[in-house]
């Protein structure tokens, strides 16, 4: 049992984190909305204060969790809305993955925001970038500390929206805008899985709170019908995780998402957003204990993604695409670890990969500049040493090489077989509707046309 003082401190800390990010976002958005000019220093200071206070709150949470043990600690902060038994309770849960990922997220965002201050200096969207960064970290903190699938969905959606808007950051070029839409479409399609999972859990347990569900599973309180719904929930969660972490067949959006500013690419697709899939699976692992099917599907999904990512990465010629496919490969491996039950290793892998990949992506834009500078200094071209390892694809069948060049043909299938077919079907239905309603309207207008025609002929005769 927690002492009342400790419980109070934890409640304050865990509530302050999302609340403060929300306030910072609103403070940044209001001048932006009304077109009031504010200085870069002011914007950065608002962000810095919010991040600093919340990092302290994170440290308090780590200390509290170490005092209690490994948790989990459940906190209820009232309810947003409710009607009868249907309630949206604001529940938080503190356990090792939650606190580690939550505090790590705040730290990473603080580092990237410090980097961005100079990187985006005098850029037109400086204030917009920081407002969206606050929206992103608000979503992340909600996902990290969520104590129910309902709260998790809120954070999940906010991360998706902020990611989309940051991909379209350079809004004068059409390509980032199209890529942002592609990412948003993938997010929303896969989020249906998360919503179905929430609905299934509501149906089985009457709640989506992790603590209640874990207790119910422990008491064997659900029957065969409920078990099938539970499997549906688990597959829904897996679908949502696969979409957010760009697993096969949803991997096409991630390399395109690199169109955004480098700091946002680093924080989203190198560090935090891309790992939300594994975090979701780790947070909800208690909901499907020992399910061979779910573990098997997770491993297969991860394996396919890792192979796909590694293959495509090796034929890519631009650095950001290579890094994107590198991220896809690593998240595939993390999925395998989760499927195999190595949850702690998966969490360490997430943190390690996030840190390393962020550094690589942040370094990417200045790499070419540094290289040309080095060549100027040396007075000759520096050609990389090509080893047999770099041309490994020459010894494997051509079909593999073609697969890599075409990115597995996933984009073509999506464009032509799925989206194209739906558009063609809808267009033909619309043409039919147009023809029928046009016929009806014209036949109803015929008398008036005939009368006006007679009048015209009379005028001509006269």
């Amino acid at each position: 049992m927690l002492s009342s003082n400790l419980s109070f401190i934890i409640t304050i800390a865990v509530t302050t984190i999302p609340l403060l990010f929300c306030c910072a976002m609103v403070v940044l958005l209001i001048p932006h909305f009304f077109g009031i000019r504010v200085s870069e220093v002011w914007t950065y200071n608002v962000v810095r204060i919010a991040l600093f206070i919340n990092f302290l709150m994170g440290v308090v949470l780590i200390a509290a969790l170490s005092l209690v043990g490994t948790g989990p600690i459940f906190i209820e902060d009232g309810a947003w809305f409710g009607y009868g038994e249907t309630q949206f309770k604001i529940l938080f849960q503190l356990d090792v993955p939650a606190v580690v990922y939550g505090v790590f997220s705040i730290g990473m965002v603080a580092l990237v925001s410090a980097f961005s201050r100079r990187y985006l200096h005098r850029e037109a969207g400086f204030h917009r970038f920081y407002a969206l960064l606050m929206l992103f970290v608000l979503g992340l903190s909600l996902v990290s500390f969520a104590g129910s699938v309902d709260v998790l969905i809120v954070g999940w959606e906010l991360v998706g929206v902020s990611s989309t808007l940051l991909i379209a950051f350079f809004n004068r070029r059409p390509k980032p805008i199209r890529n942002a839409l592609r990412a948003f479409a993938t997010y929303r399609s896969c989020d249906v899985g998360l919503l179905i999972a929430a609905l299934s859990l509501h149906s089985i347990f009457g709640t989506t709170g992790f603590s209640e569900i874990t207790n119910a599973i422990g008491n064997d309180a659900y029957d065969v019908h409920a078990s099938s719904l539970s499997a549906l929930a688990a597959f829904g969660l897996l679908l949502a995780a696969a979409g957010k972490s760009a697993q096969v067949p949803f991997s096409g959006w991630l390399p395109r998402a690199m169109e955004g500013p480098t700091p946002s690419s680093a924080i989203f697709y190198g560090a935090l957003s891309v790992h939300l899939g594994p975090v979701l699976l780790l947070r909800t692992a208690a909901l499907y204990p020992g399910s061979v099917w779910i573990s098997g599907v997770t491993i297969i999904l991860g394996l396919l993604t890792a192979i796909h990512g590694a293959t495509v990465q090796s034929v890519k010629s631009d650095i950001k695409s290579r890094l994107a496919y590198g991220s896809i490969t690593q998240t595939g491996l993390i999925f395998i670890e989760i499927g195999a039950g190595f949850h702690t290793i998966a969490l360490i892998h997430c943190i390690g990969h996030a840190g390393y990949r962020t550094l690589q992506i942040l370094r990417a834009p200045s790499l070419l500049h540094d290289r040309s500078h080095l060549e100027q200094m040396l007075g000759h071209h520096v050609s990389p040493e090509v080893t047999g390892k770099d041309h490994w694809y020459l010894v494997i069948p051509k079909i593999f090489y073609r697969h890599a060049l075409e990115r597995g043909g996933l984009d073509a299938i999506l464009r032509h077989q799925v989206v194209g077919n739906v558009q063609r079907l809808m267009c033909s239905l619309e043409r039919i509707e147009n023809r029928i309603s046009g016929l009806i309207a014209d036949s109803l207008l015929m008398p008036s046309r005939w009368i006006s025609g007679v009048v015209e002929v009379d005028k001509y005769d006269k």
Partner: protein, 415 residues
């Protein structure tokens, strides 16, 4: 105050509001006159609500008298916003007449008896006649509207639908909501009418749908609910396939109306409350998006296409931000009114209609994608040398006020 006197007062004020533009010398004076009378009507409606329940009114009220007065108030308040956001660039005095007449009809709809309710759409289409007389396409829309509403009204039997299965009533409801494939009349209206007049049509559709609650029994309601679930998905698919912004927003609103209808006739209490919140989202956020799209068309002088990004964020940041926030509210972003409505609907309906609920989920997902596409393609991109003006102060104040109202409404269902 009895309902008859109450509605007579409101309708009289709104008829004066509709006719006042005729006497005005120019558009500005006409709009001012209409707005004054609409504001008076909205205040009277608000007083009616307070007299009915004191200050303890609630959106999920089960009292039909209070509920009707709340809907009338919501319709009139939205009418004020529609008039405030109409300008000489995108509306004429004839359009002001149509808007006021539609809002009057929308406010009166919840008070109409089952005998008169089926004929309300015919009157609604006829009030659009001044705006629709002109080119051949407009005439076609008018003729089709009158034809569909006449056929639907004569096939409808609401008194039968109270206790028995009535296919005519289902047909009538599908036409009023305008879901595919019964959308021929309404899709032509959005293509030919000025968008602020079409916003009035949306308000009318919302109040008609709300006034059907309690009029249709389970024998007719449950099949209608199932049909609407499928049609919400269908409307979502149509929305995502559009390249014309007007048609895209039309199918989004249709999908939302179908979702609300799916919940309303499904006889699940939680879902019915959810449908009321979703209807509030449509009447506030979605209507405001229609108006903003109208403003955008007036500024650029052309119809908006979703083929390529043609916006100019730097020129109109306030416009873009307002559109984005309203689009996210309408699409059901968490922590907004739209999310509250959708969440209650899917939670309420999943136990009894899992397939229908999954279909409306997919429909809502497709609508959210279309909304984001509209924002990205209309407000971002390279507009070239064009430098259209941003939202004016009045427009900004009205839009911001609307956003605050939707935000406040999302906290009215405390457990």
């Amino acid at each position: 105050m009895t309902n008859e006197i109450y509605i007579m007062i409101l309708v009289t004020i709104m008829v004066i509001a509709a006719l006042s533009p005729v006497a005005a010398i120019d558009f500005i004076a006409a709009r001012r006159n209409s707005m004054i009378f609409t504001v008076i009507a909205a205040v009277v409606a608000g007083v009616g609500v307070v007299l009915e329940s004191g200050l303890h009114w609630s959106i999920n009220s089960t009292d039909p008298r209070l509920s009707a007065k709340l809907i009338a108030f919501a319709a009139l308040a939205t009418g004020v916003v529609i008039l405030a956001l109409s300008s000489a660039r995108d509306a004429s005095r004839k359009d002001l007449f149509s808007i006021c007449a539609l809002i009057a009809l929308a406010a009166a709809a919840p008070f109409l008896s089952a005998t008169f309710l089926p004929y309300a759409p015919i009157i609604a289409v006829l009030t659009l006649a001044p705006s629709l007389l002109g080119e051949i396409e407009k005439k076609r829309a008018l003729v089709l509207g009158v034809f569909c509403s006449l056929v639907a009204a004569f096939s409808c039997d609401l008194s039968l639908a109270e206790n028995q299965f009535s296919i005519g009533t289902i047909f009538w409801a599908l036409i009023v909501i305008g879901v595919p494939p019964f959308h021929s009349w309404s899709v032509r209206l959005i293509q030919t009418l000025p968008l602020n007049v079409f916003a009035g049509v949306v308000v009318f559709q919302v109040t008609m749908l709300e006034s059907l609650l309690g009029t249709i029994g389970d024998e007719t309601g449950l099949p209608l609910s199932t049909l609407l679930g499928g049609m919400a998905l269908f409307a979502g698919l149509f929305a995502v396939a559009q390249v014309d912004a007007r048609k895209a927003i039309f199918f989004i609103i249709t999908c939302q109306l179908a979702t609300a209808g799916f919940a309303e006739f499904g006889s699940e209490e939680v879902a019915i409350v959810g449908s009321r919140y979703l209807l509030l989202t449509i009447i506030t956020a979605s209507t405001c998006i229609v108006l903003l799209l109208g403003g955008l068309e007036a500024r650029t002088g052309r119809r908006q296409s979703l083929n390529t990004p043609v916006g100019c964020y730097e020129s109109w940041p306030r416009f873009a931000n307002a559109f984005l926030i309203l689009a996210l509210i309408s699409a059901g972003l968490p922590l907004t009114l739209g999310y509250l409505g959708s969440d209650l609907i899917i939670q309420g309906m999943f136990h009894t209609h899992p397939v229908g609920t999954t279909m409306i989920l997919v429909g809502a997902m497709l609508c959210a994608i279309t909304m984001m596409r509209m924002y990205l393609y209309l407000f971002q991109g390279s507009a070239g040398k064009r430098q259209p003006s941003d939202l004016r102060l009045t427009e900004l104040a009205v839009t911001f006020g609307f956003m605050l109202v939707t935000f406040a409404l999302s906290f009215t269902l405390l457990p």
